[in-house]
Subunit: 908 residues, 2 copies
């Protein structure tokens, strides 16, 4: 650990810089860098992320002691640059105290503003600024925020509002006023008194008057907030390690609420929702930053263009707009010019879209922070492609700028145009995060989570969201808020999640107690369906039909770049022609896994399947299989035709037979009737098929080796379909995959049945079709003996679902009993069924590829299973030299991007 714990900045100088992000956090590093490149930033200092780690290791007291001298010196440095003094009633310095981690975690940790005020200092501030209202408004805000964050004031019941808000409402009611701004200075003074009393009543603690005591409390509270529940949840979702810690930045306050020559705002160098190269943002005159972000007042647009667009969406006429909601470009043209120039400078400096906070204090513009802006998937792709075209970044950087998982947003359905034309628009809000969503209304995060777990699609509706709503937002299909702008909590978080969101729909009246919402007289209850269009801000009554997304424009261009750079190709897992087609449109170049068992569940098929299972002899079994043959052949015909000219890897029957028989009495009775046998007979057969550990029982090629006639039938169906297609002029490329091989002999016997059946069929039909016989490597022993297995297998497909099950000894069906505890205790970092375990399972894959290719030099190796569409796993597959990954159709572009990134990373 470095001895230096605190880094100062201000007045065009700084001890830190941009590339010290790990030590100073994103915010601290950027504030330093902005100073260095000439952007006006209030002076301050940053306590490093290392100190956060120290804080959790050594405890609060020790760390405060270690920091004391450096912090006190840094405060003096800020005092001298601001020509004011901390705690000095005649010319007080006020500061903000903020978190700042290596990766952005918006709203997850705590922030304190206006720190340094007390009953004496506030009087001095009044004197100094001549603005009593401002001073007391700042003071009451500070007490409120400090009470919440440092002293732990919380609503007593979930449905209650914040205790300070309750006091404000009470005071306003007593005064008979509606707006906060209608309160008198006396009201504000009374609020401070009432707030302090409430704090003392609820927490038993006095509000600290000493500014240095306030500062230490705030610094520690920010460190504490690194481990609050929502921060932990956010890190888990975003994969941010706990060890990184947060920095704390203490910075001189500048005030956007010092009258009409002051303002505060947030702006983006490009559109975070669509990616368009349009400078945009929101501001409020005579306000503090929190007012913009928290969505308490509906903010105004920064550019005139944006303002006009906004007014149109809100059905506000031009006169009202120009008078009541003028853009900054109109209201503060000089400052707007400065702002525009500086945002451009920052984007060019960082070569990426910037998300900036600024304050105008009595005509002077200050930047409070800048960072690479969060954006939707659509914006991510457009910005990357635009910056590429503008020559700001090269192709590889453009590829690396896109987060594979975020492409998901571009792949999800949009509203069907016809359905949309007939849909009833209830109201309109801000298009806060694009996409289309339908679902049942819920009001509370807990319910959203629960309903989602029950398999329901929900739309979360809130007056405004707060970090406590995070889990609920994650579970919802979409989010609708009554208050808040494009940069409100709901909007920012929803964009981060790639969720559809409509914010600031002011016509909505929400009643949490009765769990209803009202829009222009229409009452919607919890559980009713609504639909949201996050790209237009429209809210519809009921469910609106959707249609699939398409790969066009920037997205198509990105996919072309992927093709140019990646070595690994992407196939899809598909059991139907429909799935195959979807995947093919997304760029899949074959089928990596076509499961055959799903094909047996329709009426006549399941009947024949059950006859096969009940058969007592090979002949009876063959008779039943003969009935299945035409169905199977038809299924394969459709898939092979749809994937004409591309390899289609078909897995022979895999699951245990008991999955095809009913386990409930009623189903057994129906089956008995259909089969013309007694229920008792069915039950005894079902019971004979039951196993202690079906995952480790009679399934996979153990079935084919016990009942070779199943393998023969499936071969006839696959190659029969291929022969038919070839006769019709198509070019089918079937691959027949033997599942669950652990011993080479298993494959050997299956292969000879397949070859023998094929030869007979080709002879009879007078046509030969080229095909391959391969195997899944999904049993640890298969990977360990891959050299021997490759003697018989023409290709390998790593079945990482089963391989993970057996390598860990985890049943996917039973892991729920300990996985949550394992994730919580950090025994596991991630669910190994989601993200490939590179250290264990990956070792077997590596071994399997190497040993396999020792025997058969050009052995084609692929992976099927959930991991084939997970970016970090795809990258691993690239590194161990697989030829392809296969994933579900909607993960294909994600896998393609990950594959390209893996190739680019390798070049470095």
């Amino acid at each position: 650990m470095s001895e230096k714990r605190v880094y100062t900045f201000g007045n065009g100088k700084a001890e830190g810089k941009a590339d010290m992000r790990n030590l100073l956090g994103g915010k601290g590093a950027n504030l330093a860098e902005m100073n260095l490149i000439g952007v006006p930033v209030p002076p301050g200092f940053t306590i490093t992320t290392d100190v956060c780690t120290e804080y959790y290791e050594k405890g609060k007291e020790t760390v405060v002691k270690l920091l004391k001298a450096e912090v006190e010196n840094s405060v003096k440095h800020v005092e001298s640059l601001m020509n004011s003094t901390f705690g000095d009633p005649s010319n007080p310095l006020l500061v903000s105290v903020r978190s700042g981690a290596r990766a952005s975690m918006p709203g997850m940790m705590d922030t304190i503003l206006n720190l340094g005020l007390n009953d004496t200092v506030v009087a001095g501030l009044v004197k100094k600024t001549g603005n009593e209202r401002f001073a007391y408004d700042s003071y009451r805000r500070f007490v409120q925020m400090y009470g919440d964050v440092v002293l732990g004031m919380k609503p007593v019941n979930k449905e209650d509002i914040d205790p300070f808000e309750a006091i404000i409402q009470k005071v306003k009611a007593e005064r008979g006023v509606k707006l906060d701004s209608d309160m008198t200075v006396e009201d504000l003074k009374q609020l401070v008194v009432l707030f302090k009393k409430a704090i003392k009543d609820q927490t038993g603690k006095d509000f600290p008057d000493d500014p240095m005591e306030q500062l230490w409390g705030a610094i520690c509270a920010v460190f504490d907030s690194w481990m609050n529940e929502r921060a932990i949840l956010y890190r888990k979702m975003e994969g941010i390690p706990q060890e990184w810690g947060t920095a704390v930045t203490v910075q001189a306050m500048v005030f956007g609420n010092m009258g009409d020559s002051s303002a505060t705002g947030v702006c983006f160098s490009r559109d975070a929702g669509t990616g368009e190269n349009l400078f945009n943002g929101e501001y409020l005159i005579n306000a503090q930053g929190e007012d913009v972000v928290a969505g308490i007042r509906t903010p105004q647009q920064i550019t005139k263009e944006g303002s006009l667009r906004w007014a149109a969406q809100q059905n506000i006429d031009e006169e009202t707009r120009a008078n009541k909601f003028p853009s900054m470009e109109e209201a503060m043209p000089e400052l707007y010019k400065q702002l525009y120039a500086l945002q451009d400078k920052l984007e060019k400096h960082y070569h990426d879209m910037q998300d900036m906070e600024f304050t105008v204090q009595e005509g002077k513009l200050w930047f409070l922070q800048t960072r690479n802006g969060k954006r939707t998937g659509t914006a991510m792709v457009k910005i990357a492609m635009d910056l590429l075209h503008e020559g700001e970044i090269d192709e590889k950087t453009a590829l690396m700028r896109c987060e594979p998982n975020k492409l998901d947003e571009l792949l999800h359905p949009v509203f069907d145009k016809e359905a949309l034309a007939q849909a009833h628009v209830l109201t309109r809000g801000l298009p806060a995060s694009p996409g289309a969503a339908s679902g049942q209304v819920v009001f509370f995060a807990d319910d959203a989570t629960k309903w989602h777990e029950d398999g329901r699609q929900v739309i979360m509706v809130r007056i405004e969201t707060s970090p406590e709503d995070l889990a609920g937002m994650s579970a919802a299909e979409g989010i609708l808020t009554a208050r808040g702008g494009m940069t409100s909590h709901a909007a920012v978080v929803a964009r981060g999640m790639g969720k559809c969101c409509v914010s600031g729909a002011g016509a909505i009246m929400i009643d949490y107690k009765t769990r209803t919402l009202e829009i222009d007289g229409t009452i919607i209850r919890e559980g009713d369906y609504i639909s949201l269009n996050g790209s237009t801000g429209e809210v519809y009554l009921g469910e609106v039909k959707t249609r699939p997304a398409e790969v066009t424009g920037d997205f198509a261009e990105l996919m072309d770049l992927c093709k140019k750079y990646s070595k690994l190709v992407v196939r899809t897992n598909a059991d139907t022609p429909h799935d195959a087609e979807v995947a093919s449109n997304f760029g899949a170049v074959g089928i990596g896994l076509c499961r055959t068992e799903h094909m047996f569940f329709e009426n006549e098929k399941i009947k024949a399947m059950r006859e096969m299972i009940l058969a007592n002899s090979t002949e009876e079994r063959e008779k039943a299989l003969d009935k299945l043959l035409p169905y199977q052949k038809q299924d394969f015909y459709g898939i092979l035709k749809c994937m004409d000219g591309m390899p289609v890897n078909i897995r022979l029957l895999d699951p245990p037979l008991h999955e095809f028989v009913p386990h409930d009495l009623k189903g057994q009775e129906v089956m008995a009737e259909e089969m013309g046998v007694s229920v008792h007979f069915i039950q005894s057969r079902v019971s004979a098929l039951s196993e202690s550990n079906p995952m480790l029982g009679l399934r996979g090629c153990r079935l084919g080796n016990t009942f070779p006639e199943i393998t023969a039938m499936q071969t006839k169906a696959i190659l029969g379909a291929a022969v038919l297609l070839k006769k019709e002029g198509y070019n089918p490329k079937p691959e027949i995959m033997v599942p669950l091989v652990g011993i080479v002999n298993e494959l050997d016997i299956q292969e000879s049945i397949i070859r023998k059946t094929a030869n007979k069929l080709f002879k009879k039909e007078g046509v030969e079709v080229e095909f391959k016989v391969g195997t899944m490597i999904e049993i640890p022993r298969a990977a360990l003996t891959a050299d021997v297995i490759a003697q018989k297998a023409e290709y390998f497909s790593f079945g990482t679902n089963d391989l993970t099950q057996m390598t860990f000894g985890y049943s996917r069906d039973d892991i729920a009993s300990f996985l949550p505890s394992y994730l919580e205790k950090k025994i596991l970092d991630v669910d190994p069924f989601q993200v490939l375990d590179q250290k264990g399972v990956g070792q077997l894959i590596k071994m399997g590829v190497e040993k396999g290719r020792n025997t058969r030099k050009n052995l084609k190796c692929g992976i099927c299973g959930e991991h084939g569409g997970e970016p970090s796993s795809v990258k691993f597959c690239h590194r161990v030299g697989l030829n392809y990954v296969s994933c579900s159709p909607f993960r294909v572009p994600i896998a393609r991007l990950a594959a390209a990134q893996a190739a680019v990373e390798e070049m470095k």
Copy 2:
């Protein structure tokens, strides 16, 4: 393949020799060798084992063509040495045709004697020998045997006797005679006619008259018999590969049935039952070899000493003995001297106990074969030690001479002396294979197998056994026959299996139809209990109590040799002081696996365990665990005390919790009553605990990591017991093993709970006990990441049961649905739960040891689980450098011997 397919021998010359066993089979190689060292052997020739393989690859016709010239030339060679001609009525050559595999397979394959006879030749034989009776007796025997073996004559029903025997009985009944020898020449002639008619009637084929046609039929029949059912079963039991094939030896017949100057016999250079250095054997005057082996006539002893002993056992007075059953030593003293000298020469030549067949034809002694004799486990040990003392072999050879699995016989109970004194002796037979056995009487092999599978102990009782009875004998505790001597089929096979056997108990009358046996008026029905002493030949009514075996004498000496040579030590799997003591007596030097779950099933313990499972909070769980603590402590106290000064490796709770709750309604009702909760509550808890694949669910350290208080309680119990013992002056050496680790963090957390609990306990008690914390490597991922796991584990114990389950993806509970078919189809050579899979599972063990020791140089590694007592697996463990194996108490000496052999093999 060599071009030479046939090797001749005779008159002191031979084309083969002893070390060509693989090519000529044991018998062929030894016949050649005997010629070369001057032992008189009838001339003949051997068709190689390679031809057998060729026979199954290319088919009968092709192989007969390939052999034709060589066989015809070899026949001429024999003709010239014997001065007689094949098929020449004036001076005919008769031959035997026998199988001979690389490893001895007594009675498993077919043999034809007297080949070359037909209606013309038999007349010539009469003329030449002047013995019409002999000639026609030989002829009818030949037709009978050829009919059985080559032409496939079999009894129609299981309970019928051989069709030829039926004809003989019919003829004897018509003539009113009892013994075969009472039949006239005319009767024998008629038998030939009737036999040939029966053959034509039953098979539709004529009996072949042409001697060369007879010869080819016989040669092919011997090759065919390599694949008969009993031969396949025997190979499976003995682990003989099918690919080895059998050789066929064609040899000039010599006749022991040419009157009273002729005889035939079988002899051993030492006692095959006890191992005593006593030449012994049986013979019959005027008989063919089959008469002795098949037990049709009760044979006489070769030595006088043996004869006297036999008579005493049979309650035969000296006069009767000397007149009716004289030994060969008395009846043919000159020939006996030759025989004695030659057997001695052979044993000294082969440095091992010999099993020899001989025939005296009209005063001339011929040896027909010699081989290393099968022997009981007791004899195996004694002979090896005796030969060592005699200087015939060295220590390493003595070790290698003992087959580890056969030690099993020396470990099994013998009758309790007191119980024996009170037992009622029913009768006495020959002490054919030593040991003690009690069980229920069964008469048929199928029943023996079935009853055994049902968990019953059975004694198989037969008039005489045949190879068809093999499976039944294997399932029985012991075998009792009414007929047959020490070298009868029953006796030889039982000794090979290490089963207790009493043969030739002549007083027994068996009625297969009523399924009863009668001894001196006592009727015993199927299902009644009897007991056998295979070391004395006594048969007792009812069950007789047994007591454990001891390691003394030769056995102890062998174990000392094991200690001298082996590097690997042997521990035991024991959950009770009793098991630990048994194992310790057998030389176990510690406990390799002490399972704790078995300790929870007694009354009060299971109740507390269930309270723990039903607990809704950590506190409730801790309360229940507090009740368990004293019980657990007591259990560990007993075991640690019994194994004082030796390491005791205790595994923390492993099985899924549902194993401790009742799954039937009645049990649930009882539990509800005991716990004072509703049945519904119990049921919902049981159902919550149920899993789809419990083997892959919440068990092992996943339990301890979900409920850390269990680990803490067990640690307190183990170390609490150890502290108590240390205070009492003992030297306890506990090792605490965390099961089912797949991720190092799992072990890390468990270890810290253990250490923390230990430190607290030691502080409180004021005494510290040294202990180790280790882990089982039983999850593939643990082996793959053993380098990381060794950072936390002080030792590894490979849990090969689970490791095999997960490496193969087999559930031990479900494997029965496909294992038989897998063994039959040769997909698996052996059950991998019995014999360690060295290629797959073994690779993980090797990797685990290497990686583990890369991290922790002297990491102690052991194995627990079934494989630790299986010789080939133990040898593997030696080769990969394990420090110890651990096995069930009764496998300890077997493992010790295997370990020593592995060390000796390595020196070579």
